[in-house]
């Protein structure tokens, strides 16, 4: 369960990225976080993994108040997440399999087990045939699948994807979104930040719309834009 209560984030005392946000995401939910560039989507996600701290309000993840978290506990919090970054951030010098196995090694799982789990995750996203390739040697859609595999290999409680379909063809974007639905079906709470209208409209899921740092709409089954 994720709870944000009256959360604000102000940068340098001037730029308000989030303004009095109150939001609750139950365990296992699927949420599209929509809004234009600069609406506050990425800031909200960064607060959830304690990459940033809220200027005001309370952020709770699994009942844990992130403001009270000690620095030494932050890695443990982040291990409960699987993250697909906007720019993917795959390690260019590591193979696809090594990139995925790295997430297991971070969890403290080394050796053969990490590589077995990586192979399973790659099979889940349909990328087992690219395991030994470097990220630069595969397509953009495949890179996103690799990033998804890395994010789910350790079976996280919460899955976060920031613009996972950006600059993909409609077909590839659809395929990736179907994959995100699969991830959610594993019981993983899934939050997808996007401004891809077609993707949001094509899947009837909860939509939380942000504008200028405020929640302007929160509907259980919604479209990208509603009059």
């Amino acid at each position: 369960m994720i709870v944000l209560r009256n959360v604000s984030k102000v940068y340098d005392f001037r730029v308000t990225a989030l303004d009095d946000i109150t939001l609750s995401i139950p365990k296992g939910d699927f949420v599209f976080l929509v809004g234009h560039n600069g609406a506050g989507k990425t800031t909200l996600l960064s607060l959830l993994v304690r990459a940033d701290r809220a200027s005001a309000g309370v952020v709770l993840v699994g009942g844990q108040d992130l403001a009270l978290l000690k620095e030494s506990e932050v890695p443990l919090l982040r291990r409960r997440f699987g993250i697909v970054f906007q720019d993917l951030k795959l390690f260019p010098g590591k193979t696809v399999a090594e990139n995925v196995a790295l997430a297991m090694q971070v969890q403290g799982c080394t050796g053969k087990r990490a590589h077995t789990s990586a192979a399973d995750a790659l099979a889940l996203v349909g990328l087992q045939h690219r395991a030994s390739f470097l990220p630069g040697q595969i397509s953009g859609g495949e890179q996103r699948k690799a990033a998804i595999a890395r994010a789910i290999v350790h079976r996280p409680e919460i899955f976060i994807a920031d613009e996972p379909t950006a600059s993909l063809s409609p077909e590839a974007a659809w395929e990736i979104t179907c994959l995100l639905m699969e991830v959610n079906r594993l019981g993983i709470t899934t939050i997808v930040a996007t401004h891809d209208k077609d993707v949001v409209d094509g899947f009837s899921r909860r939509v939380v719309a942000l504008d200028n740092g405020r929640i302007v709409r929160d509907v259980q089954i919604g479209k990208f834009m509603e009059n």
Partner: protein
């Protein structure tokens, strides 16, 4: 078993990272080698100078010329008194006859010069050797008042210069050595910092994936140690060659001073350079990575 697996993973990661960023690895190792070689060369030259000065100091003698009628017991007592001082290396008694023999040997090419001598005018003497010029100077001042001492001969200029050279060499040895070590620390640290900086993105991703500080730091730390070790090995080879070369040159230039190769010193120097390299590589990495562990 788990610890071994962890160490193997970290070491493997360090080696793979070093190989995959080989341009930076080569540049860093070259910088480390260059700085360590500079430091090593300085230590070699400093050591050669120290050995030379020590040899020179040993060759400075205080010559105590004795009165002809000095009682042998007094001469022996004086000799013993000098020998009892730990700063004395040796005291040699030169009889009047031996002194004349030496004079004749000096002028063997021109024996006519010594023909007019009907009697031996040379005094017996005590030749005192010490590696402490200041001690010889103080003995000379004291012994001038001794009734069995006719005269004292001490090469004042040489003694004074040696004292000065010793002091300057010591000052330069410590001062320059420390300065150079600091410069090496800074340059090597900067090179490693650049390597880490080039991969700050990786560190950020690892942090967001939930990696602990240890997980991120260890491969970098091992890489730094690896840089330091390879740099130290390269510089050890160069410094070893330089050490042998410096000694050959010194022996040719100053043939009257025996400057022998000291393999113990060379091994000690290589050990110091290796430990310095490992320490500086590890420390440089540790401090550099720390900057990026704040996300």
């Amino acid at each position: 078993m788990a610890a071994l697996s962890y160490i193997a993973t970290m070491s493997g990661s360090a080696v793979v990272n070093a190989w995959r960023h080989r341009t930076m690895t080569v540049i860093t190792v070259l910088i480390v080698s260059l700085m360590m070689t500079t430091l090593g060369m300085f230590l070699v030259v400093e050591n050669a100078l120290s050995v030379m000065i020590a040899n020179l100091e040993e060759q400075v003698n205080l010559i105590i010329y004795l009165e002809d009628e000095s009682p042998p017991s007094d001469v022996l007592a004086l000799r013993q008194e000098l020998l009892d001082d730990p700063r004395t290396i040796s005291v040699e008694y030169v009889t009047k006859e031996q002194a004349l023999e030496r004079l004749r040997a000096t002028f063997q090419d021109d024996p006519d010069l010594l023909q007019p001598l009907l009697d031996n005018p040379l005094p017996a003497s005590l030749e005192v050797r010490s590696d402490d010029p200041a001690f010889l100077q103080s003995q000379a001042n004291t012994l001038l008042g001794n009734p069995i001492v006719e005269d004292i001969d001490l090469p004042q200029d040489v003694v004074k210069n040696l004292i000065r050279i010793s002091q300057v060499a010591t000052f330069l040895g410590y001062g320059l050595g420390a300065g150079l070590a600091l410069v090496a620390l800074f340059v090597i640290g900067s090179a490693i910092r650049l390597t880490v900086y080039a991969r700050r993105g990786e560190i950020e991703v690892l942090r967001l994936m939930g990696a602990s500080d240890h997980f991120i730091r260890w491969p970098f730390l091992l890489e730094g140690v690896f840089f330091g070790l390879i740099g130290a090995l390269v510089s050890s080879i160069l410094v070893g060659i330089a050490y042998i070369w410096v000694h050959e040159v010194l022996q040719q230039l100053i043939s009257f001073l025996p400057v022998s190769l000291d393999t113990t010193y060379l091994l000690r120097l290589i050990l110091i350079l290796t430990l310095f390299g490992i320490a500086i590589g590890g420390l440089g990495s540790y401090l550099s990575v720390r900057r990026f562990l704040t996300i």
